[in-house]
């Protein structure tokens, strides 16, 4: 894709402007109980070589048998990426030697992947959005782990991850800045989590990215790219791209050329460096795995999975805007994390009138709850205020039992002490005063006690706010400010 060059994405070099071209291969661990080709567990951790079968250890005569759930997860993901599903795909062997690759080859899909072209719409913080093309998605095996720090002159091999199913999701080189790249991976991760096909846990390495970076003069053909392997946080993706682009610009501006190579990102130094083991060009000798058959399924298999897909973030966002009148910004915030959207929807489910109060609920979830959680460094799962408690608070506002101000006090009590908001309101006398006679008395008392202010307000009607404030204060916040306002106007003849 050659999208129009956005000036804000250009990097100033010593000799003029440069544009980055970025493509990303995301390796996402498929959520499944067992491995792609064996019945060993995919559970994280475990004692060394405990989640390993004879197949995973590549014992002589062992054969792979495919896990149907991994196939379904890949198809679901393809559907979530609006991608073409290939009813026939082929598993190939990618041959290379590495101690954590027990078979001496990785079973992957090379020429015929299970999922073809698709696209992802990505929202940026400034409210704009852009589309990233998906080149393909294929299934493959993860490798084991080599630990280099346990012995002085030996590496230790643990095959627990060997054979776990991965989806490699390859984007087109459509990204033009580190911001876009980070936003793309974030969005992809969100989609996978909505689908339940990958937990997106980057700390555990369940989602990691190989980032291809090149630079060019705006409008020129693609430059030579370098691949930064195994970047395992979104922040590092941004840092790695920034460093790599500047490194390449430096080389080019010195009149040298870029070597196409594989590099590693060092988070401590914030730099990329060439892999030391890459002294030779790889020749993977792909060929179809003769232990397996072509992977074939029917369109109805795909349609059944499609019918079962959950609502995805883009659809959810559109529904929040259309049905509940949320602003696009609020809607985007709420759907950005599956857990956030789920919490918000639980609040909606607890409301007496979700259509009326949905927007208020969005404000409460985003501003009061998320704000507070952020401040205290808590995850939504650890929120002291549950969705049903928050719904009860919003219902109390909506039905006029408490004012918005009291509601904030109530929220504070629920946050720190817990309890049923309705019971708390009763027990602590927080109910809004609805007895008009009592409110009239409060109004009359304030008016009578302040003749000078009365004179002033008659000349300057916006002074009424002072009277409202006094009445609210006298009532302990338990009267409806609108009712006070109306009564004052009558009483003062405004």
């Amino acid at each position: 894709m050659n999208a129009p060059v956005k000036p804000s994405n250009l990097i100033k070099g010593a000799t003029g402007d440069w544009e980055m071209v970025i493509g990303i291969e995301v390796h996402a661990q498929v959520t499944s109980n067992a491995k792609l080709f064996s019945g060993a567990s995919t559970a994280f951790g475990g004692n060394p070589n405990s989640h390993v079968s004879f197949v995973d250890a590549a014992m002589p005569g062992m054969l792979p048998v495919i896990n149907g759930e991994c196939v379904r997860q890949a198809v679901r993901t393809g559907l979530g990426l609006n991608a073409r599903i290939n009813l026939r795909s082929v598993f190939d062997r990618k041959n290379y030697f590495y101690p954590d690759l027990p078979q001496g080859y990785q079973i992957s899909q090379y020429q015929s992947p299970i999922v073809g072209e698709g696209e992802v719409v990505v929202d940026l913080a400034d409210g704009t959005s852009f589309t990233v093309g998906i080149e393909r998605l294929h299934l493959e095996q993860d490798a084991g782990k080599s630990l280099h720090d346990q012995h002085a002159d030996m590496s230790a091999i643990d095959l627990n991850r060997s054979g776990v199913a991965l989806m490699e999701i390859v984007s087109k080189p459509d990204l033009r800045s580190s911001e876009q790249a980070k936003a793309y991976v974030t969005k992809l991760r969100t989609i996978l989590r909505y689908l339940g096909t990958c937990d997106g846990d980057m700390e555990k390495g369940n989602l990691r990215a190989d980032v291809n970076v090149s630079v060019r003069r705006p409008g020129e053909p693609f430059g030579t790219r370098c691949e930064i392997k195994n970047v395992n946080s979104i922040r590092f993706i941004g840092q790695a791209i920034e460093h790599e682009a500047r490194r390449q610009i430096g080389i080019l501006e010195d009149g040298d050329s870029i070597d196409q190579e594989t590099r590693l990102f060092d988070p401590d130094k914030g730099e990329t460096r060439a892999m030391r083991s890459k002294e030779e060009a790889h020749d993977y000798r792909y060929f179809p795995d003769p232990d397996l058959l072509p992977l074939e399924f029917s369109q109805s298999f795909v349609e059944a999975l499609r019918a079962d897909l959950p609502e995805l973030p883009d659809q959810k966002k559109a529904r929040f805007i259309a049905d509940l009148g949320l602003t696009p910004y609020d809607a985007a915030v709420l759907v950005s994390e599956h857990e956030c959207a789920n919490f918000y929807e639980s609040v909606l489910g607890g409301l007496a009138d979700a259509r009326r109060d949905g927007k208020v609920a969005a404000n409460w979830v985003i501003n009061e709850l998320f704000g507070r959680l952020n401040k205290e460094g808590l995850s939504i799962a650890a929120s002291p205020v549950s969705a049903s408690q928050l719904a009860a608070i919003i219902d109390l506002i909506g039905e006029g039992t408490i004012s918005g101000k009291i509601a904030k006090d109530l929220f504070e009590i629920v946050w720190t002490e817990g309890g049923d908001p309705r019971v708390l309101v009763d027990e602590r006398g927080m109910k809004q005063v609805t007895d008009m006679g009592a409110i009239e008395k409060l109004v009359a008392d304030i008016v009578d006690a302040n003749p000078d202010k009365v004179a002033q307000v008659r000349a300057k009607p916006q002074m009424i706010g002072w009277f409202v404030g006094q009445v609210m204060k006298a009532s302990g916040g338990k009267v409806n400010p609108q009712a006070v306002n109306d009564l004052l106007k009558t009483k003062l003849g405004l």
Binding site: N33, A34, N49, S50, S53, V65, R276, D283, R285
Partner: protein, 95 residues
Amino acid sequence: MSVDAATVRRIAHLARIAVDDAEVPHLQGELNAILAFVEQLQEVNVDGVEPMTSVTPMAMKMRPDAVNDGEIADKIVANAPVTHDHFFLVPKVVE
């Protein structure tokens, strides 16, 4: 097509088989004899012919997603030349 000595060395390295310089000419001769023998395939017209993927045509069966294997670390490392604490040990790998 035939291979030269450099190709023999490259292929041997790709296959991770150490080859003495003294062995190279002999290996080169053998490989070229085999390549000359298979050269006759070039005369077959294969236009429009599908490559064989499965000699007995059938659909690939899928396994249910059940954990029914593993937890046999003792057996996994039982035949290994060097182990420690159920890890396989190899000469240090540089990344």
